[in-house]
Symmetry: C2
Subunit: 437 residues, 2 copies
């Protein structure tokens, strides 16, 4: 192995993840030096408040001027763990322009500006790695960029938000409604005080944009991914779903058909026997289907300072190795030249063909199901199963759960409008898509 | 991307996997050229019998002289899919010495000669990749060599032989005995006419040696891996196991404790609720535990021409990319310099601490269990659960199933010797280790 002097690391951010990275850099310095080919020195860390007491004490130099990290001559690799779009994105641009290699855990920046940053990296012959941006400690970016590269990927189905998977698991196992499960998750620190990004599917949409861009060699940005969250889920939905043989999961889905690509994030009914249906709690799982490899699934912890540090430091060690071997970044990076290769057309959700689960509150009298079935039939939607329960004698209403055969999304919404106008309807309580394969 | 002329591929072997690789190289030539940065041309394929009719017809030139592949000036990358130790290993050495890059699916060669071949590759600045040697189309070698490199791996638990997993699944689901399930698997082409390598755990031991060498940065060869097969499994064992809450799987296990490393392949009782217990049929799964990342699991098809081609062509495309970028192989390859880094001490099986399942045929009379429990107690083995069934009134025998708390392997074998000598014992029908975590 080529020997060279120490490699300088600069940290942007010293929160939970940043502290985890700094701790691992310090405690594992011998192993990391051997595997990198040179010692890795943490030069300094950008922080917001230099007076805040820090677990790492004197072993990390905190600075408040970003230039002292992103343009410092003794920093070779900039590690960004601030999160959020700005100023993180601007800092990464400046770092790349200054010729620094960059490792980022930032899914929002990669989902919104990934292709541009990768071009910038290529231009400055810098490495830009982002394994930690999706799936925490689960290797999935690397396998897509390298090991699975001979495949034409036909689909991705992923549980890539641990917060919502934790909430859904609690709702399912303990019969809680969404608001109760969310409050619990917040108390335990699994959900943020403002949970919007997680529970509305925005975080999962960012991650799906990153994965789909790599997998389908097509530029997919955050704005391209329609997303629905889990706020409408109720304890009842889990009971009905289980009775019908399904679990409920928030899935990030990308499906190719011909030259079309459908990307979406929303709750899904999944057959109980599928591998993804069994992924519980804070775990993540990414299922990738390729024309050669078939279906491969990656499962593990999708968040937390240690799993995220595993991904970040894996990227750091690999960049350090390349530096020790005197390799500048490859002119051709799968991430950088991939997006334009296939250029699939992004389909609208209205074109989607899928199955549906409908939970309706209806008047409890004869002929109601016939009226609803008629409206569905007029929109070319046929019923797969019906469950009727929970008759409320006082209100004279009943709850009706219907699952359908595959139908068109636009037609389903038109049918739902028509159903809502039926005099026998009290309320459309929920509409959830069903994945049967 | 740097442009350059076509990259020549030479195939060693044109059996089921070789034909799959050739087919994919031809049918996917446009995508592979774009992702590689240059066209990939299949120059010729080494075959045993040039007269045998081949599915690919005139599109592949068959040759019988290995030199025309491994030393041909127009071959840049040699792909070896012959299998077996020799002559494959000798050909790979010649290819590396001739400066060719090598991609191999050969677990036996990598398990027996991997470190030496990797040094040879390093010396000749050639790439040597072997993703296809373990787990078929599941990326696992790449993730261990790169993405998980910042971790200290503490354990690997893997289902990495599809044939035995298929047989065990059939035995479990259909109540078949081993010989019947094997005969069926052979008829369906899932097992070879000579099934020894699969059913005796030899194939899994090869693969574990490859994985453990990378994961633990310690030289582990095929001879270091104690292995037991599945031939002693009976339909009854699956019934008792399920009653006790377990599935039976052939696991490849590598566990680190301090500076010690225990590697082994044998059947195992696994709690039904674990992810690995749910891996059925021809699927493979590799569970890797790291100090940072926690437990990550890779699941998919571990064999077959298409999954294997995915891994092989993934390696080919990545080598081609590096060639297009003018990168010779890195001087430091994680695989090449890794083995010496940690140098863990390989522990003997006799040192193992684990739990056991014992199925005994005993005289059906009072006091028998007490005698057996006494012997176990004398060897410091305590009983966790007992199931007694299947009294045979005519023979006046009964079947006794005992599970133990964690005990030492050597002591268990001494205890078993002593139990066998008890006058009340008819037969020790099976001894299976139990993994509870």
């Amino acid at each position: 192995m080529t020997t060279r002097g120490p490699i300088g690391i600069g940290l942007l951010g010293l929160g939970v993840v940043g502290t985890g990275v700094a701790e691992a850099l310090l405690s594992k310095r011998n192993e990391l030096a051997k595997r990198s080919g040179a010692p890795l020195f943490l030069r300094r860390a950008l922080v917001r408040d230099p007076n805040k007491s820090r677990a790492l004490g004197a072993s990390v130099t905190p600075v408040t001027d970003p230039t002292r990290v992103i343009e410092a001559p003794d920093v070779d690799i900039v590690v960004e763990v601030m999160g959020g779009e700005q100023p993180a994105c601007a800092y990464l641009e400046r770092a790349l322009k200054a010729g620094k290699h960059v490792v980022t855990a930032n899914k929002e920046v990669m989902a919104k500006h990934g292709p541009r940053l990768l071009s910038l990296a290529q231009e400055h012959r810098a490495h830009l790695r982002f394994e930690a941006s999706v799936g925490g400690g689960i290797p999935v970016i690397g396998p897509l960029q390298r090991d699975l590269l001979a495949n034409d990927i036909t689909s991705i189905r992923a549980i890539i938000n641990g917060t919502t998977n934790y909430i859904l698991t609690e709702m399912s196992q303990k019969g809680l409604d969404f608001s109760v499960a969310l409050a619990q998750a917040q108390q335990l620190g699994y959900a943020e005080p403002d949970p919007t990004n997680d529970v509305e599917g925005i975080d999962a949409a960012f991650k799906l944009a990153v994965l789909a861009t790599l997998a389908f060699h097509t530029r997919v940005t955050a704005a391209d991914v329609p997303h629905e969250g889990i706020t409408r889920m109720r304890a009842k939905d889990f009971l009905y779903a289980r009775e019908l043989g399904y679990a409920i999961k928030l899935l990030a889905l990308a499906t190719r058909d011909g030259n079309g690509l459908t990307v979406r994030v929303h709750p899904v009914l999944l057959p109980l026997e599928t591998l993804l249906a069994k992924v519980d709690g804070a775990f993540n799982a990414i299922e990738i289907k390729g024309d050669l490899t078939g279906t491969v699934t990656f499962h593990g912890l999708g968040a937390g300072p240690r799993p995220t540090s595993s991904a970040i430091l894996g990227d750091v060690v690999n960049i350090a190795r390349a530096m020790c071997d005197g390799q500048s970044a490859p002119l051709s990076s799968p991430a950088a030249d991939g997006p334009e290769e296939q250029g699939l057309r992004l389909r609208h959700m209205a074109e989607l063909q899928t199955q549906y689960y409908l939970r309706l509150n209806v008047a409890d009298r004869p002929g109601v199901l016939a009226q609803i079935a008629t409206v569905l039939g007029q929109h070319e939607i046929s019923i797969a199963a019906v469950v009727q329960k929970d008759a409320d004698a006082q209100a004279r209403t009943a709850e009706l759960v219907i699952t359908t055969h595959p139908a068109n999304e636009a037609r389903m919404h038109h049918a739902l409008d028509a159903i809502t106008r039926l005099p026998v309807m009290t309320a459309v309580n929920n509409l959830i898509r069903v994945e049967t394969v």
